[in-house]
């Protein structure tokens, strides 16, 4: 990794003062340590806010408020119990057992893949809102190959996998090409293509080719056994692909000429063009790869979890991926960590609802949102936690509406 910390202002050549304010607005690779601190602090703050929500959604605790001034101890006891039970369930549900860890990984993997796509686009200066649409097209193609075609095991998986990835890639490339050729803003085109993909899926689910035989429900068959990712224990092996994808994206961005071009275009498209790079090609390629990664995420739903094609097959993965990429500061490692965190919250949330405190699973959504909110406002976190501003609060920046 090119990321390393540098003491501010140390070892400067004497006659070349580095202006501190210049340093702060650079998305510098020199700042992950403060970033981790802020993120951890944001997580803690989110848990504190979450604790209040737990307290005030617990029936027993609220009832104890009625006689708070006669016997306040009850309130504190019930509140403490509710918080403890909820968070303990959240923790054990996420990492407390082999089954829990497997749940966490399976939920994290598609988030990581789609998140990597969003991160890659960010680094190229594109705000890819379209992971959801790209994912849906991926599920349609992977699903179709998975449940209609008959092939030997292994080969079937491979073909279905490729179909899903290509579907996502094509859907992403449309936005990239439109941006490159006509200048259409990718935020608009990806959002619109999300609608198109959603509606396309709904339409297809009314057709015989997709519907379960003898059923009127908008639901397909699950993929054939031969097209499924093999399992190790309770975890499907598609999860490994997420790790490979992360390493691949890291290599692409940091070690390859293509990534060099993408990052240059993302940081200064004019300078990139003057240096002989094709800005349009970088945009198209970035969206194509982003789409492919979303397509890969799609195969994990269809070929890993063995979900049927339904309107909800992708859940909100494509949108959560944006949050994951933002939280991960558009770096591959950050995206993996953020994806794991969100996967853990999703897996643990179910356990939490089942716990004695019966805290609704939506609390995890609140926690996710709060973490990102606090991370987006590092000054707020530093203020609350009395942390020193080390100038490392770099945030992800995508281009606005200008170009």
């Amino acid at each position: 990794m090119p990321e390393q910390t540098k003491p501010e202002g140390a070892g400067l050549p004497e006659d070349q003062p580095v202006r501190p304010e210049d340093k702060a607005d650079v998305r510098s690779p020199a700042s992950w340590l403060p970033t981790v601190k802020v993120t951890a602090a944001a997580f803690l703050l989110a848990l504190v806010v979450g604790a209040f929500l737990i307290v005030f959604s617990d029936q027993q605790t609220i009832e104890s408020l009625g006689y708070f001034f006669d016997y306040p101890w009850d309130f504190f006891r019930y509140a403490g119990e509710a918080i403890y039970q909820s968070y303990w369930a959240l923790l054990t549900g996420a990492v407390g057992s082999g089954r829990a860890i497997s749940q966490t990984l399976e939920r994290a993997a598609p988030l990581i893949c789609a998140g990597l796509g969003v991160s890659l686009a960010f680094r190229t200066g594109l705000f890819n809102i379209g992971a959801q649409g790209q994912l849906l097209i991926g599920t349609i193609l992977a699903g179709y190959v998975g449940f209609t075609w008959s092939m030997p095991p292994g080969l079937h998986l491979l073909v279905a996998l490729i179909a899903g990835v290509l579907g996502g890639a094509a859907w992403g490339a449309i936005s990239g090409l439109l941006k490159a050729k006509t200048g259409a803003h990718e935020v608009i085109t990806t959002i619109m293509l999300n609608y198109v993909a959603t509606s396309l899926l709904l339409y297809l689910l009314t057709k015989n080719a997709f519907q379960r035989p003898g059923s009127d429900n908008p639901r397909s068959l699950p993929a054939e056994e031969s097209a499924l990712f093999p399992s190790i224990g309770t975890t499907h092996t598609g999860v490994i692909l997420a790790v490979i994808a992360a390493v691949g994206v890291w290599w692409l961005l940091e070690r390859s000429t293509i990534g060099f071009e993408m990052r240059a275009v993302g940081a200064n498209a004019d300078a990139a063009a003057t240096a002989g790079m094709s800005v349009g090609r970088a945009y198209t390629l970035a969206m194509l790869i982003a789409g492919a990664l979303a397509g890969l995420a799609a195969t994990m739903q269809i070929l890993g979890r063995n979900d049927s094609l339904t309107a909800n097959v992708a859940g909100s993965i494509g949108f959560d991926a944006i949050t994951v990429a933002l939280l991960g500061r558009a770096t591959p490692l950050g995206t993996v960590l953020a994806g794991l965190l969100f996967g853990a919250l999703a897996a643990g949330g179910i356990q939490m609802q089942a716990s004695e405190a019966a805290t609704p699973v939506s609390l995890t959504l609140v926690l996710q949102a709060l973490i990102v909110l606090f991370v987006a406002a590092p000054a707020l976190v530093r203020g609350v936690m009395r942390m020193k501003d080390t100038g490392g609060g770099a945030t992800v920046m995508a281009k606005g509406w200008g170009s």
Partner: protein
């Protein structure tokens, strides 16, 4: 009003931007603050204007100690500042901009535009600052926008006016106009702090000159001090203001432009049938006031924009349909006009920027994989060779000083064999020491047999480098002259006042 700084110090961590600076601005004087980029002039002024809090020291107005927590406090106390980058709302009129922040209303919150316009008119008459109060700021030329900034400061009853590098964006004529304005302000009792790194200007207008180097006051000098002495104070060592060069030995024509015409996106023809020849081993200087088509001409030479008519030949081969990539491969080196805009990627490290247009070479990549070892070796070699002052090769270029940023660009472009070097404003916003260095390298490149085309709006630079001078006005080359032409004559050609026929003219192919 007398403004006094006593022992002003500003530290950022271990770095001292201003060290114990004491300075007095007398009422009604033009006090020049001279210093290279990064010397600490801006930090000092920002402390004065309430944008930065001093680490130590104090500011006194007429002997009374004052502290400014915000620019609002400074304005209240009678200090006005015109920033290098204007703080105007482009879609507002002049009057609206002037009343911004201190809007006057007529009952019910209706803005009193007439009152604001009257104020603008009064100020522009009193100080001879011709401005139409109802013009939209975005329609005004840069020089006039600057006047609006000055009026804004005067409307706040500024008694001390700080002008931060005010001439950097101006044409020679606009600079003269600005100096007239400064004189007229001074006559009416306003003191002016004039920040610059241009020696000629401080001598022309200053009453006293304070030189700052590395955050310290080096000394105060009268305007009669010679430019060489001032430059020495500024840089800290003897500086050559002229470039040592042998007479050129021009060879064959390498680059040839034939009737190049460029139409900008708004449909204006900005380059109108420009033809020139650039020969090996010779520097062709293209002089002209900013905005006479040089920007577009230069971009069309590299293929960043395509000429709408005409041809560009390199070694007889037509490259007018080429994009930047092919042109670079043909052997064109390109130093763009505005380095931060298209010369480097600010967020990229020095190492990465040094191969920004070279990473495709076999030396720096193999297939799709970057060859990091060679890229690092290259960076180490260039940093050494071009004396790029940077913490290390992984420092983002945006945190280097202007001169060193430019050295990164120049080092990159000169690090491969070139047929033609096209350089636009190669030393704009660059410190004196780096100017000397860059000029020397350009002449070295010429002596190696490269054809060099330099575009500059600074006549000093043109005279220092060029073996032949083409003067551009209104999209045309109005004449190609020898560098021994008188400064005034070339000034007239640049202003479009005289055609080439009226000026002693050398043959086009001399």
């Amino acid at each position: 009003m007398e403004l006094e700084m006593r022992g002003l110090t500003k530290r950022f961590g271990s770095f001292t931007a201003n060290d114990d600076i004491s300075l007095t601005i007398e009422p009604g004087e033009i006090h020049c603050l001279l210093g290279d980029n990064g010397a600490g002039k801006n930090k000092l002024m920002n402390m004065l204007y309430g944008l930065l809090e001093p680490t130590a020291g104090e500011v006194r107005l007429d002997g009374e100690p004052v502290t400014f927590a915000t620019p609002g406090d400074a304005i209240e106390a009678g200090i006005g500042m015109v920033h290098q980058h204007f703080m105007l709302v482009p879609v507002f009129t002049v009057a609206e901009n002037v009343m911004l922040g201190r809007e006057q209303t007529r009952g019910l919150g209706v803005l009193d535009r007439e009152k604001a316009a009257a104020l603008v008119r009064e100020l522009s008459e009193r100080y001879r600052l011709a401005v139409d109060p109802h013009a939209l700021v975005e329609d005004l030329p840069v020089g006039v926008q600057q006047r609006v900034e000055i009026i804004k400061a005067l409307a706040n009853e500024a008694k001390v006016l700080i002008l931060d590098e005010p001439t950097a964006v101006l044409t020679p004529q606009e600079i003269d106009e600005l100096m007239d304005i400064m004189r007229s302000l001074k006559e009416q009792g306003t003191s002016i702090v004039f920040i610059t790194h241009k020696l000629r200007e401080v001598k022309a207008i200053g009453d006293r000159i304070t030189v700052i180097r590395r955050g310290k006051v080096v000394g105060t000098a009268p305007p009669s001090t010679s430019e060489t002495e001032l430059a020495e104070m500024m840089v800290g060592r003897a500086v050559k203001l002229t470039v040592d060069k042998e007479p050129a030995r021009p060879g064959d024509v390498v680059m040839e432009a034939k009737d190049v015409t460029v139409i900008d996106p708004r449909g204006h023809t900005v380059v109108k049938g420009v033809s020139f020849e650039a020969r090996a081993g010779e520097v062709l200087g293209i002089a002209g006031v900013q905005g006479n088509g040089q920007t577009e001409l230069i971009k069309s030479l590299l293929g960043v924009i395509r000429p709408d008519a005409g041809r560009i030949l390199v070694d007889g081969q037509d490259i007018s349909a080429h994009g930047p990539r092919e042109s670079l491969e043909t052997g064109i080196g390109y130093i763009p006009e505005d380095r931060s805009h298209d010369g480097y990627v600010g967020a990229f490290t020095v190492r990465e920027n040094l191969v920004l247009d070279l990473y495709r070479n076999d030396e720096f990549s193999k297939g799709f994989a970057l060859r990091l070892d060679n890229i690092a070796k290259n960076a180490a070699a260039r940093i050494e060779e071009f004396d790029i002052r940077t913490e290390d090769m992984d420092t983002p270029v945006s945190s280097l000083s202007g001169g060193n940023q430019q050295k990164v660009v120049v080092a990159r472009e000169l690090s491969r064999p070139l047929k033609v070097l096209v350089a636009s404003q190669p030393t704009r916003g660059v410190d004196v020491g780096s100017i000397e260095f860059i000029h020397k390298r350009i002449i070295t490149e010429r002596d190696q047999g490269t054809a060099v085309v330099i575009v500059s709006t600074e006549l000093d630079e043109i005279f220092a480098l060029a073996d032949r001078i083409a003067v551009m006005y209104d999209g045309r080359i109005v004449g190609i002259v020898s560098p021994d032409i008188a400064r005034e004559d070339i000034g007239l050609m640049m202003a479009g006042a005289v055609g080439p026929a009226d000026v002693a003219k050398e043959g086009t192919d001399a």
